[in-house]
C-alpha cells in the first residue's frame, strides 16, 4: 500500500500543477467578472509557444535554460492571446462564452497550422523537458519527505508560490479588493471611482498568462511534445474553479483531487489492487464527482455575481 501511494504521488502532483495554475488564471478572470472558457485554447497557445522556443533553443544552449525561457515565452504568449478575449468581452460587450469558444477554436487551428509549417507534422517534439529533483534536507523527513519533496519539478514550487502570491493579491491588496468588487457589483466599483475596464483587462491578461504557463508546464513535465491539444485540461481547470468555489485554496483542493483521481485511473491497469474495478469507472470517477459537487453546491454557489455580464455604464 505504502509503496503504491509513494509511487503514485509524484505523478498526481505533476498532473495537478498545470491544472492548478490554469485554474488560478480562470479565478482571476472570473472574480473580475469575465467568464473565461478559453482556458483550454490559452493552454494550447502556451504549450505551442513553449515547444517552438524550446525546440529552437535546446540545440544551441543549456537544455535547462531553454526550458525556462520556453516557459516564460509560454506565459507571455498566453497573456497576449488573452487580449483578444479581453477586447471582445470588455470593449465590445461580446457574449463571453462565445468569445471564449472562439479562442479555443482559433488556438487549436492556428497552432497546428504553424506547427505544420515548422516541423512538417503537426507535432513539435522537445529534446528534453524538466528534470525531477529531490529537495535537499526536506526530502529526508519521514513520510512527508518521501511524498512531497522527493523527485519534484521546480515548476511545482513555482506554481505553489504563485498560488500563495495570488491569494495575497486577491484578499490583501487594493487591486484584489477592486477585482472582487468588479466581479460582484461593477456599478458599485465604478461609482467608487474604480476603473472597471482596467481591472478586468489586467485580470483577463493574467488569466491568459497563467493558462499559457500551465500549457508550458504540461509540455515540459508530462507531454514532452506539442500535439495540438491539451486533452481537455483547460476545461477540467474550469471545473476545478467551480468545484473550488472560486477560492484559491478551494481550487488547490479541487485540482489535487482531480490530479489524484486521474492518476489512479491512469495506472489502474498495472496495479493489481485496482484491476478489479473496471477502468471506465475509474476514468469517469472525477467527472462524476464534479457533477455531484456542482449539484450539491449549486444552492450555496459562491460564483461572482456579475461574472458573464458585460459591464455597460449607463445600464440600470
Amino acid at each position: 500500500m505504502w509503496t503504491l501511494i509513494a509511487q503514485i504521488f509524484p505523478y498526481a502532483i505533476a498532473f495537478t500543477i498545470p491544472l492548478l495554475i490554469t485554474s488560478l488564471g480562470g479565478l482571476f478572470s472570473e472574480r473580475s467578472g469575465v467568464v473565461n472558457i478559453g482556458l483550454e485554447g490559452l493552454m494550447v497557445v502556451g504549450s505551442f509557444t513553449g515547444a517552438i522556443v524550446i525546440y529552437t533553443l535546446q540545440p544551441i544552449m543549456s537544455p535547462d535554460l531553454a526550458v525556462w525561457i520556453g516557459l516564460l515565452a509560454a506565459a507571455l504568449a498566453g497573456g497576449v492571446f488573452a487580449i483578444l478575449h479581453a477586447f471582445a468581452s470588455i470593449n465590445l460587450n461580446a457574449n463571453q462564452v462565445i468569445s471564449g469558444t472562439a479562442i479555443n477554436m482559433m488556438a487549436g487551428a492556428l497552432t497546428v497550422f504553424l506547427a505544420r509549417n515548422v516541423t512538417g507534422s503537426g507535432n513539435i517534439p522537445i529534446v528534453r523537458g524538466l528534470l525531477r529533483r529531490d529537495v535537499p534536507i526536506l526530502s529526508e523527513i519521514p513520510v512527508i519527505g518521501r511524498l512531497f519533496f522527493t523527485s519534484t519539478y521546480a515548476t511545482t514550487w513555482l506554481v505553489l508560490a504563485i498560488l500563495l502570491l495570488g491569494w495575497y493579491v486577491i484578499y490583501k491588496t487594493s487591486y484584489g479588493l477592486r477585482l472582487r468588487a468588479c466581479g460582484e457589483h461593477p456599478h458599485a466599483a465604478d461609482s467608487a471611482g474604480v476603473n472597471v475596464y482596467k481591472v478586468r483587462y489586467i485580470a483577463v491578461i493574467l488569466s491568459g498568462a497563467f493558462s499559457g504557463l500551465g500549457g508550458g508546464i504540461l509540455l515540459v513535465t508530462i507531454a514532452g511534445e506539442f500535439t495540438g491539444s491539451v486533452a481537455g485540461l483547460g476545461f477540467l481547470a474550469l471545473a476545478a474553479l467551480i468545484f473550488g468555489q472560486w477560492k484559491p485554496l478551494g481550487i488547490l483542493g479541487a485540482t489535487a483531487f482531480f490530479g489524484l483521481a486521474s492518476t489512479i485511473a491512469n495506472v489502474s491497469s498495472v496495479i493489481p489492487m485496482l484491476k478489479v474495478i473496471p477502468g471506465v469507472i475509474l476514468k469517469v470517477f472525477p467527472y462524476i464527482v464534479t457533477l455531484i459537487a456542482l449539484v450539491a453546491f449549486s444552492k450555496s454557489s459562491q460564483a461572482p455575481k456579475a461574472a458573464g455580464e458585460p459591464y455597460e455604464k449607463g445600464k440600470r
Partner: protein, 508 residues
C-alpha cells in the same frame, strides 16, 4: 448669494426621450433642498449628471462659484460631491469597511490597511450618530443600515454636498425618522443636502426649499414653509391631486378566497412563518392585511399564489380547493398577483414591455398558435395596456422593461394583472416608492376593480393606504391573525396596537 452648486439650463436626452429639458437647480450652503417630481420626471438623471455618471448635452454646472466639467464620479468626489443612489451600490459579500474604502484604500506596505480604516469608519459613525458596525457583512445588515453605509461612504470621502436619491422609499417609518435626524445632524456639521423624494410629508418635515420638475421640465423652486402640500403636489403632476379616493358603499358578496387554517414555513430554516391562518375575502371588497414587515405577510401571499408550499390547511378559490394547484392552474382559476418586488418577480427586466405583458398568458390564443408566438397580437394587446394605464416609456411597447422608471414599471404590472380580469387580485405594496400622481392612479384602479365586484387582497406596510382603501382590515402578527376590523370603525391607533399583537378588547 452663496450657492455651493448651480446647475444651469441642463439638458439631457436618451434615445426617444428628453429626460432633462432646460432644468436649473441652485443649492445654498447649509440647506436641505428637495427635488420633487413624478416617477420618470428626470430627477435621478439630473443628479447623475451632477455626480458625473452622465454628461449633460447642454448647460452649465458651477460648484462654489467655479465652472466645472464633471466627467466622471472621481471628479465629483474631488469637488466634494457624494451621492446615495436609489439602488444602493454596495458589494453584498464585502464588509461595511471594505465597501467604504473601495476605490480609496489606505495602505500599509503593499496590503490594504483594513484595521485603521475600520477605526476611522467607527469614528465617523459615532460623530454623526450612524450606529454602524464596521465589520459586519452587507448581506447580514438591514436596509436602513446599508443606507447609513452609503452615507458613510460619502463622509469618508469628505464630501460636503450630499445627494440622496429617494432615500426613504425602502425604509420603515422608524428608519425614516432616524434618517431625518441624521440629515439634520449633517447640516449642523456644515454639509449641504439635495434630497430627491416624492413624499410631500418628508419635504415638509426637513426641507428648506424645493425644486419641482415635471416630465423633464423645470417648473419652479419654492420655499417649503410658505407652500402647502397641495400646491407642491399640483406643481408636480400638473393638475389638482386628491389625497383620498372616492369609494362608494358596497355590499360584499360571495366568498372568493377562503383560507382554512393555513400554515407556511418561513424562508429561514425551521421557523413557521404563518400559523393556522384563516381568512375570507369576498367579491366587491378590498381586504387590507396590515402588519409590521416580516410578520408572515410575504409567506402568506406566496402560499396563495403558489410560490411556496403550505405545511397544513387548505386554500379555496370560488369554493374549489387549490392547495395543490400549480402556479399556472392558480392563474387560470382567477388569481392575479401584483408582487412585492417588481424588479425581481414582476418583470423580466431584459424583455420588452410587450413581452412582459403576456408573461402569464403567452400560451393562450391569439398570442400563440401551434407553438408559434403571434407578435402582432402581443403588441396590440400590450399597446392597449400601455395606453389604458398611462405607462410612459421612450419606445412604447418596444422599450426594454429595465429602462422604465419604477413608477412606470409598476403601472405596467398593475395593468397586466388587472387586464387578466381576475376574481381575486392580490396587491402587495402596490404603490411602494411611487409618487402621489401614480399612487392616486393605482388606488383608483384598485377601487374600480372592487366596484366591478372583484375581490382584492391588499398587503401594505403603509397604514394610510390600508385605512384609505380597505373595507375590512385583517391584522397579522408573528404569522397569526390578531383580528379583523371594519375599516369604518377603526383608526390608526387601534391598528397600530393590533400590529404589536394586542387584541381588540385587551386594552379596555
Amino acid at each position: 448669494m452663496d450657492y455651493v452648486v448651480e446647475m444651469l439650463n441642463i439638458r439631457k436626452e436618451f434615445p426617444g426621450i428628453v429626460a432633462n429639458d432646460d432644468i436649473t437647480l441652485k443649492l445654498k450652503k447649509g440647506e436641505i433642498h428637495a427635488l420633487l417630481g413624478e416617477n420618470g420626471a428626470g430627477k435621478s438623471t439630473l443628479m447623475s449628471i451632477l455626480f458625473g455618471l452622465y454628461q449633460a448635452d447642454r448647460g452649465q454646472i458651477r460648484v462654489n462659484g467655479k465652472d466645472v466639467n464633471i466627467s466622471n464620479p472621481n471628479v465629483a468626489n474631488e469637488l466634494g460631491i457624494g451621492m446615495v443612489h436609489q439602488h444602493f451600490k454596495l458589494v453584498h459579500n464585502f464588509t461595511v469597511t471594505e465597501n467604504i474604502i473601495l476605490g480609496l484604500e489606505p495602505k500599509r506596505g503593499l496590503s490594504v490597511d483594513v484595521k485603521s480604516a475600520a477605526k476611522r469608519v467607527k469614528e465617523l459613525s459615532e460623530q454623526y450618530g450612524l450606529n454602524v458596525d464596521p465589520n459586519a457583512k452587507i448581506e447580514d445588515v438591514s436596509v436602513g443600515m446599508q443606507q447609513r453605509v452609503e452615507i458613510l461612504k460619502m463622509l469618508y470621502r469628505n464630501a460636503d454636498i450630499l445627494i440622496f436619491d429617494e432615500p426613504t422609499a425602502v425604509l420603515t417609518p422608524q428608519e425614516i425618522e432616524d434618517l431625518m435626524k441624521i440629515m439634520r445632524n449633517l447640516i449642523k456639521e456644515g454639509k449641504s443636502i439635495i434630497l430627491i423624494t416624492h413624499k410631500l410629508k418628508e419635504i415638509k418635515a426637513v426641507a428648506d426649499r424645493c425644486t419641482v420638475i415635471r416630465r423633464g421640465k423645470f417648473i419652479g423652486t419654492v420655499d417649503v414653509d410658505s407652500t402647502t402640500k397641495a400646491q407642491m403636489a399640483e406643481m408636480m403632476v400638473g393638475r389638482e391631486v386628491l389625497f383620498s379616493v372616492e369609494k362608494p358603499d358596497k355590499e360584499a358578496g360571495e366568498v372568493i378566497l377562503k383560507l382554512d387554517k393555513v400554515s407556511v414555513k418561513s424562508n429561514r430554516e425551521g421557523v413557521v412563518a404563518v400559523k393556522d391562518f384563516s381568512l375570507e375575502v369576498k367579491e366587491g371588497e378590498i381586504l387590507g392585511l396590515a402588519g409590521v414587515e416580516g410578520n408572515g405577510q410575504s409567506e402568506l401571499v406566496e402560499a396563495i399564489t403558489g410560490l411556496k408550499d403550505i405545511v397544513s390547511g387548505k386554500i379555496f378559490i370560488n369554493g374549489k380547493d387549490i392547495s395543490n394547484f400549480s402556479i399556472r392552474e392558480r392563474i387560470n382559476s382567477g388569481i392575479a398577483h401584483i408582487p412585492e418586488d417588481r424588479q425581481k418577480r414582476g418583470l423580466v427586466l431584459d424583455y420588452t414591455i410587450g413581452q412582459n405583458m403576456v408573461l402569464e398568458i403567452y400560451d393562450r390564443k391569439p398570442f400563440s398558435e401551434r407553438g408559434l408566438l403571434n407578435h402582432n397580437a402581443i403588441t396590440e394587446y400590450a399597446q392597449q395596456i400601455v395606453e389604458d394605464f398611462d405607462v410612459r416609456a421612450g419606445q412604447g411597447v418596444e422599450s426594454v422593461a429595465r429602462s422604465l422608471s419604477g413608477g412606470n414599471q409598476q403601472k405596467a404590472i398593475v395593468g397586466r394583472e388587472i387586464e387578466l380580469n381576475p376574481d381575486l387580485l392580490i396587491a402587495v405594496q402596490p404603490t411602494r416608492g411611487l409618487d402621489v400622481g401614480s399612487i392616486e392612479y393605482i388606488h383608483s384602479r384598485l377601487i374600480e376593480q372592487r366596484n366591478r365586484g372583484k375581490a382584492i387582497l391588499l398587503v401594505s406596510l403603509e397604514l394610510d393606504e390600508v385605512l384609505n382603501l380597505s373595507d375590512r382590515i385583517a391584522i397579522i402578527n408573528s404569522g397569526e391573525l390578531v383580528g379583523i376590523v371594519d375599516a369604518k370603525d377603526t383608526n390608526e391607533n387601534e391598528i397600530g396596537l393590533m400590529m404589536a399583537g394586542i387584541k381588540r378588547g385587551d386594552t379596555d
